[in-house]
């Protein structure tokens, strides 16, 4: 089945421009302690309470690599189907800033721990592969707080030295939608792996966005601008849209795009120049003499390989094969690890088709309405499968099930108990139904006559009346059968 290709193009005058985007994602490594010190990394602690002498760069203090962070980076590399470099080197990136106590950031420049890899995106018009250039480990800086005092800046070093993975994509992205899908996929992979919590509100995932434009069909890249430190997908998309249009306007106006670093102003929805290429820092990278090159063995990598769980792409394939989900349904179910776990728990004990519909339909809608994540769902997977079984065995109708579901959302109650307590059990006794139906026909003699004379549309009226009289509990299938006979 061929789908229509969805292209994101900017039209000006008679020209069509393509947008080229590459991302440098900074993902905080999920780890108890920092990259080169034993300080805690918990989010939201009181300022400067998670700072060691190493983090604050006291004289004579030395960095010692946290092996767990190395493992996390390698696992992420495996998840990105990337080359793991058995030898990597930590470099110093030198610059002065108040929240950078050492006067340099320890990063990896020439020899990163992870090399080329790829990420598969599921776009509405088909799959798209985005290349990964590299992944390297580096320290986060502290935080400068400029708005607590009119004259002074405050510095919080809790974040100083926290491990980050910088994941650099190739310039393979072509639209804000692809960026959205890419970030979500990357986030999902890392959450499956447990290497980054992907929490963008807490700054665990941020990105520098490189944007350039070129005339459609051109093979050469345009001059790019880098938009620094954007911390939500929505802002990334807005920034790209603004920046791409700005560049197109410049070109159409006969001007050139200058390579520069820009900032996205979320209030004004525009990007602004931060520094030009000429003003770019000279970071004077050189290998950190306090650290030896990082060498990992094949056995070390093999061991980590064994710890890699089933990842979204493989899980999607399995869901399609094993549960006969459509690719669309499978995509939704694997989009994050919690949803996929929930789904698998539900279908362990109930019908897959019903479960899929109920999760994607009722459950997601209800959670959305309450602004809840699946992990906070008031309805446990076990109780949802019980509800589905009640539908499947005819104990309740689909309609009644919705009423029960609503009550379950108020608190994780056993659907069987709700059905019993409220007397919602479906009436499937033919004799009882016959009596009901007789009553309805009796009180609607005129309509029954009309029906018999050919007004078949009235059948629905009778079904409705029977359901009404039964309080919705009559088994709709049986009602249909008996009504047909009686009329």
């Amino acid at each position: 089945m061929s789908k229509e290709k969805l292209e994101y193009l900017i039209n000006r005058n008679d020209n069509q421009y393509e947008v080229v985007i590459g991302l440098e994602v900074h993902a905080q490594v999920l780890s108890q302690s920092k990259l080169f010190s034993t300080s805690a990394t918990k989010f939201g602690a009181e300022p400067n309470t998670q700072v060691s002498l190493v983090d604050a760069a006291f004289p004579g203090m030395l960095p010692v690599i946290n092996e767990f962070c190395v493992k996390q980076a390698i696992k992420t590399g495996i998840g990105l189907k990337a080359k793991i470099n058995k030898r990597s080197v930590f470099d110093r990136k030198n610059y002065f800033y108040a929240d950078l106590p050492q006067g340099y950031q320890i990063s990896q420049f020439k020899d990163p721990i992870v090399g080329e890899g790829k990420v598969i995106l599921d776009m509405p018009d088909g799959q798209k592969e985005v290349g990964i250039e590299r992944l390297h480990l580096e320290q986060d800086a502290g935080k400068s707080i400029h708005d607590l005092d009119p004259k002074n800046t405050f510095v919080d070093l809790n974040r100083s030295g926290v491990a980050l993975m910088e994941i650099v994509s190739k310039p393979d992205l072509r639209s804000p939608e692809e960026v959205n899908a890419y970030i979500k996929k990357l986030r999902s992979i890392m959450r499956y792996l447990g290497t980054c919590d992907g929490n963008m509100q807490e700054g665990s995932l941020r990105a520098d966005v490189n944007v350039s434009v070129r005339k459609k069909g051109s093979k050469d890249f345009g001059t790019r601008c880098e938009i620094k430190n954007v911390n939500s997908i929505k802002f990334m998309q807005m920034a790209i849209e603004y920046e791409a249009n700005r560049q197109v306007d410049l070109i159409e106006d006969g001007q050139t795009v200058d390579q520069e670093t820009r900032l996205f102003d979320t209030k004004k929805n525009e990007t602004r120049s931060m520094r030009s290429k000429e003003d770019a820092h000279d970071y004077r990278y050189f290998p950190d003499p306090d650290l030896l090159p990082l060498e990992v063995s094949d056995e070390f990598i093999d061991q980590l390989q064994l710890e890699i769980p089933e990842l979204p792409d493989e899980k999607k394939k399995r869901f399609i094969d094993q549960f006969k989900l459509t690719p669309y349904e499978a995509n939704i179910m694997v989009s994050d690890i919690e949803t996929s776990n929930y789904f698998e728990d539900v279908v362990k004990k109930s019908d897959v088709k019903l479960a899929t519909n109920w999760i994607i339909g009722e459950l997601f809608a209800a959670l959305n309405e309450k602004n809840l994540e699946i992990t906070d769902s008031p309805i446990s997977a076990g109780n949802l499968s019980k509800l589905i079984n009640l539908i499947k065995d005819g104990t309740i109708s689909g309609k009644i099930a919705k009423t029960v579901f609503e009550q379950m959302m108020e608190g994780d109650k056993d659907p069987k108990k709700i059905v019993e307590e409220k007397g919602l059990k479906q009436e499937s006794d033919p004799k009882a139904l016959e009596a009901l139906i007789d009553k309805v026909i009796d009180s609607n003699r005129d309509k029954a006559t009309e029906y018999k004379s050919g007004k078949v549309k009235l059948f629905g009226f009778f079904v409705g009346q029977v359901m009404k009289v039964s309080g919705g509990k009559a088994n709709p299938q049986l009602v249909n059968e008996i009504l047909k006979k009686k009329l």
Partner: protein, 485 residues
């Protein structure tokens, strides 16, 4: 006993163990002599009264099985000492009091020694004469207005003047061996990775190494035994089997092959130095060693390589002294202004010069031509030694190209000052151990030293050679106590 301060470390340890002397008596003697020796300007920070308290506590509950039981000791002010000011000889750390202890000094206190003070040194260990210290020149006890060498000039002066029985210095390009040579004392730069760098104010991380300084080889070996340890807090610390250097010390070096590198016969080397070297060769032969001519072809490039690598690392290591977190801060209009004023006022001229050299050689466009090339040459220099050590067990050279010079003589000529390190620098670049022992006097009566360079981790071997030669040389330091009124 009136001659307490004249005793060697081994004698002091024996006297304490045999309860002939108490820690208080010994500590008091060194404190008294230090008090009388202020003109030498060896101390940056004295900790005398605490030392006497600690000595008393030691005597109340003596632990005589320790290696340095109740022995007072002053250390170079580059080692961070908990609750005792640590300045690195710089204004920028003038008010800095660490809450933590360096691993090397902790090892020393763990063996029962007692801190009596922090010794003067060149600012951030950058210098060869102790003249770059913010806290002023140090006098060489050998003669008035003579430099004690550097950067461990306070340490060499204090040991030679017997203000401390032993001490520790740090050696990045010769900062232990050159001052030892200038003061007639023994100084060992251990293999890189032997002594932890944790808690030592960093100059050039890939070269810095702490080491013992003493009046004789035996004391030096004992102190090396104490300070050398594998430390997980230093990622460049190496886990190798460490000897009990003082116990395994032997004068039997019969059959040891000692190399004489022809490239160390540099142009313009004073005849006195050459003669000393020849004498050294004869002493080594007398001890039963076999002398073999060797070549270290890249020796010429060692000094320029060092003066790229060391400043490059220093420029980055010293970035943390920015007035934000600790140490000296000058007020400024804004952050950049504060940085500029703090670092301009807080660092002395030599430190600023090296920061600028280092920043330059790491700059984009120059990195390949300088830093990267220097790293390649460094590898070649190391290969030279590896080749030589296929034929010999150790290498004998002069420690310095001259004896001690006068204060002020070379302050305006940094290149001539840098040339002081010509024989010591290759050893740091190759990460090898080297020891300087006093071997004679020049015509002015100033001491001259010989350097014995060993294989990596082979400290025992060069200590043994030094021990054997020391006996033959029978050097006597000429200290007149001229500074004591």
């Amino acid at each position: 006993m009136s001659d307490i301060t004249k005793q060697t470390l081994s004698e002091l340890v024996n006297n304490i163990k045999e309860k002939k002397l108490s820690s208080s008596e010994i500590t008091q003697a060194f404190v008294d002599r230090s008090e009388k020796s202020k003109e030498l300007n060896t101390y940056i920070t004295e900790d005398f009264s605490n030392a006497l308290d600690k000595a008393k506590k030691f005597d109340d509950n003596p632990k005589l099985d320790l290696k340095l039981p109740g022995i007072p000791m002053a250390v170079k002010d580059l080692f961070c000492t908990a609750n005792v000011r640590t300045t690195a000889g710089s204004k920028i750390l003038n008010n800095f009091v660490p809450t933590y202890e360096s691993t090397v000094t902790q090892n020393i206190w763990n063996e029962g020694a007692i801190l009596i003070g922090k010794l003067n040194c060149d600012e951030f260990a950058m210098g060869s004469s102790n003249e770059t210290s913010f806290f002023g020149n140090v006098q060489n006890p050998i003669d008035k207005n003579l430099v004690p060498g550097g950067s461990s000039g306070g340490s060499s002066s204090a040991v030679a003047a017997q203000l401390t029985p032993i001490t520790i210095g740090t050696d990045t390009g010769g900062s232990i061996r050159q001052p030892a040579s200038f003061t007639g004392t023994v100084g060992l730069k251990p293999t890189y990775g032997s002594c932890s760098r944790y808690g030592i104010v960093a100059f050039a991380s890939s070269l810095d190494q702490a080491g013992p300084m003493a009046q004789n080889v035996q004391d030096c070996a004992l102190l090396q035994e104490v300070i050398s340890s594998y430390d997980q807090k230093d990622s460049t610390s190496i886990d190798f089997k460490r000897n009990l250097y003082s116990k395994e010390l032997t004068k039997d070096i019969k059959g040891k092959k000692i190399g004489i590198p022809k490239e160390y016969r540099v142009d313009g080397m004073p005849k006195e130095i050459d003669d000393l070297w020849q004498k050294g060769i004869e002493y080594a032969k007398d001890c039963g060693a076999e002398i073999i001519d060797i070549s270290l072809p890249h020796t010429n490039y060692a000094l320029p390589t060092y003066y790229i690598v060391a400043p490059a690392e220093a420029s980055s290591n010293l970035a943390r002294y920015d007035g934000v977190k600790y140490g000296f801060r000058a007020d400024g209009e804004n952050l950049i202004d504060m940085y500029e004023k703090t670092r301009s006022e807080g660092f002395g001229a030599e430190v600023q010069r090296r920061i600028m050299i280092g920043t330059y050689v790491l700059s984009s466009g120059y990195y390949d031509a300088y830093y990267l090339k220097a790293q390649k040459v460094r590898k070649l220099i190391k290969n030279d030694f590896d080749e030589a050590y296929k034929k010999v067990d150790a290498i004998l050279t002069p420690s310095t190209p001259s004896s001690a010079f006068k204060i002020g003589e070379k302050t305006n000529d940094p290149v001539s000052m840098y040339l002081n390190d010509i024989f010591t620098v290759p050893v740091n670049l190759a990460g090898l151990p080297g020891i300087s022992i006093p071997a004679g006097h020049d015509s002015k009566g100033y001491p001259l030293g010989l350097q014995i360079i060993g294989k990596a981790f082979d400290e025992q071997n060069i200590l043994n050679i030094a021990y054997a030669m020391e006996e033959k040389i029978n050097f006597k330091n000429k200290i007149t106590d001229w500074w004591i009124k």
